[in-house]
C-alpha cells in the first residue's frame, strides 16, 4: 500500500482495535433487545449502563445525565431545538458565536425562521469570543448560550469557565459543542457550569454514528427523536449497543491517555507550526497560538488555493483538509476563517492538519518538505502571486 500520513483526525479517526474488539460480540452474540424482559437482553442493558458511567465519570457528571445519540450533529440539534421548545415561555433569545459548527449554526438559523432571535457573537483574530460582547448580548429573554468548547477548524479553545459563570449568574442555560474537545482536553461540567454538552465518538477513535448529549439534572428539555421509551423516554430508537459499547471503550482509553497524548501531540504540533512559519514565506497560522487543541494546525498559504493544495498533498499520501470537512463540495470559503478576519483569497488557501497519537516526527518532516514544494509550485502558477511580486519589486 502507498504510504499514508493521515492528518485529518479532526474530521474523523481510526477506530482503535480495542474498541472494535469490545464491539464485536454485540453484533453476533449479544444482539438481544436491551429494552426487553428476557435475560438475554440484560447483558446489553448492563453494557449500556456501564457506558453511561464511564462517560459520566469522564465529565464529572452523573451516569443518568448522559443520553446516547447518533452523533455530534444530533446532539447539537437536540440541545438547541429542545431548549427553544421547552423554554419558549421564558424567552426567545439565543446567543451563539460566528464560528460554531454548522450543526449549531444551521440549527440556530432554522430557529430564526421559527421566530427565535439569535445573536451570533464575533470573535477576535485568534477565534476567541469576546466576553464583553457576550455580556452585552444577554437579555431578559435569553434562554440559551451555546458556545463550542474548541473550534473544529482552527482549534481555538474558548473561555469555557468565564462563559459558564456568566450563563450561571444570569440564570441562562449553557450548552457547549465539545465534539472536538472531548477526549482531548479535560472537561468537568461543574467547573465550567455546563448544562448540556455534545460529543461524538468517531472523533476519539470510537465508531461513527454514535455520540451523546450530557443534560444536567433539572434541565427540562424533552425528546428530539420521539418514539419508544428508551433513554428514560428522552431519546427513542432501539439502542445501538455496539456503538455505545465502542464509544465507552474509546472514552475510557482517551481519558486514561489524555495527558501523555496532549504532551506528545503538542510538541509535534509546535514543531510543525514553527518550521512551516519559518520556512514557507507568506504563511499565517490560524487560531490561537497556545489556547488550541493539542492536535490542531491550521495554516493559510497566501496566493494558493486550498483544494489544489489538498489534492497535491494527497498525491504524496498526505490527508489533510481545508475549511470544515462537512462543507467540502461547497464553494464558500470557511465561515470561521472569515470570522477571524481573513480576506477571501486567504481564507480560500487554508489547510488544516490534525494529528493523532500515531503521527511521528518523520511524518511531520515529510509533510513540511512536501508543503514547501507544493506551495512553491502552486505559487508559480498563481496570478495572485505574480501580481504581488510585480507590485512589490
Amino acid at each position: 500500500m502507498k504510504k499514508l500520513i493521515y492528518l485529518d483526525n479532526a474530521a474523523t479517526t481510526q477506530v482503535s482495535k480495542e474498541v472494535v474488539d469490545e464491539m464485536l460480540p454485540y453484533f453476533t452474540e449479544e444482539y438481544g433487545n436491551a429494552s426487553s424482559v428476557y435475560e438475554f437482553g440484560s447483558k446489553n442493558k448492563g453494557a449500556i449502563e456501564k457506558a453511561r458511567e464511564v462517560i459520566g465519570k469522564a465529565l464529572g457528571s452523573k451516569a443518568n445525565e448522559i443520553y446516547f445519540t447518533a452523533g455530534g450533529s444530533e446532539s447539537d440539534n437536540w440541545a438547541i431545538k429542545a431548549t427553544a421548545d421547552a423554554y419558549k415561555e421564558k424567552g426567545n433569545h439565543i446567543i451563539t458565536s460566528k464560528i460554531e459548527h454548522h450543526a449549531v449554526l444551521h440549527t440556530c438559523e432554522y430557529l430564526e425562521e421559527q421566530g427565535f432571535e439569535v445573536t451570533y457573537l464575533d470573535v477576535d483574530e485568534n477565534g476567541i469570543i469576546k466576553l464583553e460582547e457576550l455580556k452585552k448580548a444577554i437579555r431578559p429573554t435569553t434562554i440559551l448560550i451555546s458556545i463550542m468548547f474548541a473550534n473544529n477548524e482552527i482549534g481555538t479553545i474558548e473561555p469555557m469557565k468565564e462563559i459558564g459563570e456568566l450563563a450561571n449568574q444570569n440564570n441562562i442555560l449553557f450548552h457547549t459543542d465539545a465534539v472536538q474537545a472531548f477526549g482531548q482536553v479535560p472537561i468537568n461540567v461543574d467547573e465550567y457550569h455546563i448544562d448540556m454538552l455534545s460529543a461524538s465518538a468517531h472523533k476519539l477513535n470510537g465508531p461513527k454514528g454514535i455520540g451523546f448529549l450530557y443534560i444536567r439534572t433539572g434541565v427540562k428539555i424533552r425528546s428530539y427523536v420521539h418514539g419508544g421509551a428508551q433513554e428514560r423516554k428522552r431519546r427513542a430508537g432501539t439502542e445501538n449497543v455496539p456503538g455505545i459499547v465502542g464509544m465507552s471503550k474509546a472514552v475510557e482509553i482517551a481519558v486514561s491517555t489524555i495527558e501523555e497524548r496532549a504532551k506528545k501531540e503538542t510538541e509535534l504540533r509546535d514543531y510543525l507550526i514553527n518550521r512551516v512559519l519559518k520556512e514557507v514565506p507568506y504563511t499565517r497560522l490560524n487560531g490561537h497560538r497556545t489556547k488550541r487543541l493539542p492536535n490542531n494546525v491550521n495554516f493559510s498559504f497566501q496566493f494558493v488555493e486550498g483544494e489544489s493544495l489538498l489534492i497535491m498533498l494527497d498525491m504524496e499520501g498526505i490527508c489533510g483538509s481545508s475549511g470544515s470537512a462537512c462543507t467540502s463540495g461547497s464553494l464558500d470559503p470557511s465561515h470561521v476563517l472569515l470570522a477571524i478576519g481573513l480576506p477571501h483569497e486567504i481564507a480560500h488557501g487554508s489547510l488544516r492538519l490534525s494529528l493523532s497519537e500515531q503521527t511521528s516526527k518523520e511524518d511531520i518532516d515529510f509533510v513540511i518538505e512536501t508543503i514547501k514544494k507544493i506551495v512553491e509550485k502552486l505559487r508559480n502558477m498563481s496570478p495572485l502571486y505574480e501580481d504581488y511580486i510585480k507590485n512589490n519589486n
Partner: protein
C-alpha cells in the same frame, strides 16, 4: 471526484506559466469565489494563436480547465478560439462534477478576455466577441430534490 483526464491536467498542467511577449492577456474570476484565471496569448499576424500560457489560482478543476483550454486554442485562429466553449472544455476533460462546472465557464471567459485585450491593443473588432465580465459566478443553486 475528478476524472483521470482532469487529474492528469491538474498534475501536469500544459502551458502553465507566463508569456513574456504576450499581445493579449485576460484575467477573470475573483478571490471571493476562490478562482482567478489569467491567460496569455501570443497571436501572430495571421491571427493565429502561436503560443499560450496560463496562471490560475483555484481548485483542481480550475487548473485543469485552464490547462485544457490552452491546449484547445493553441494553433487556432482567433475566430476558432472564440468557438471553444466551456462545454468543449468539459467534454475534453471527460466531464466535471456539477459543483465545478463554473470553472469551465471561467476558462471560456478567460479566453474571451485575452482576445478582447488583444483586439483592444490592435484596435480591431473581433466579430461575435462581447466584452467579458470578469466575474463569472453562478449562484450555487438550492439542490432540486
Amino acid at each position: 471526484m475528478y476524472s483521470e483526464k482532469v487529474m492528469d491536467h491538474f498534475q501536469n498542467p500544459r502551458n502553465a506559466g507566463e508569456l513574456e511577449n504576450a499581445n493579449g492577456v485576460g484575467t477573470v474570476g475573483n478571490a471571493k469565489c476562490g478562482d482567478i484565471m489569467r491567460i496569455y496569448f501570443d497571436i501572430d499576424d495571421d491571427q493565429i494563436i502561436k503560443d499560450v500560457r496560463f496562471k490560475t489560482f483555484g481548485c483542481g478543476a480550475a487548473v485543469a480547465t485552464s490547462s485544457m483550454a490552452t491546449e484547445l486554442v493553441k494553433g487556432k485562429t482567433i475566430y476558432e478560439a472564440l468557438e471553444v466553449t466551456n462545454k468543449a472544455v468539459m467534454e475534453a476533460l471527460d466531464g466535471l462534477p456539477p459543483v465545478k462546472v463554473h470553472c469551465s465557464l471561467l476558462a471560456e471567459e478567460a479566453i474571451h478576455a485575452a482576445l478582447w485585450d488583444y483586439a483592444e491593443k490592435k484596435g480591431i473588432v473581433i466579430e461575435g466577441l462581447e466584452k467579458p465580465k470578469n466575474d463569472i459566478h453562478e449562484e450555487e443553486e438550492e439542490e432540486e430534490y
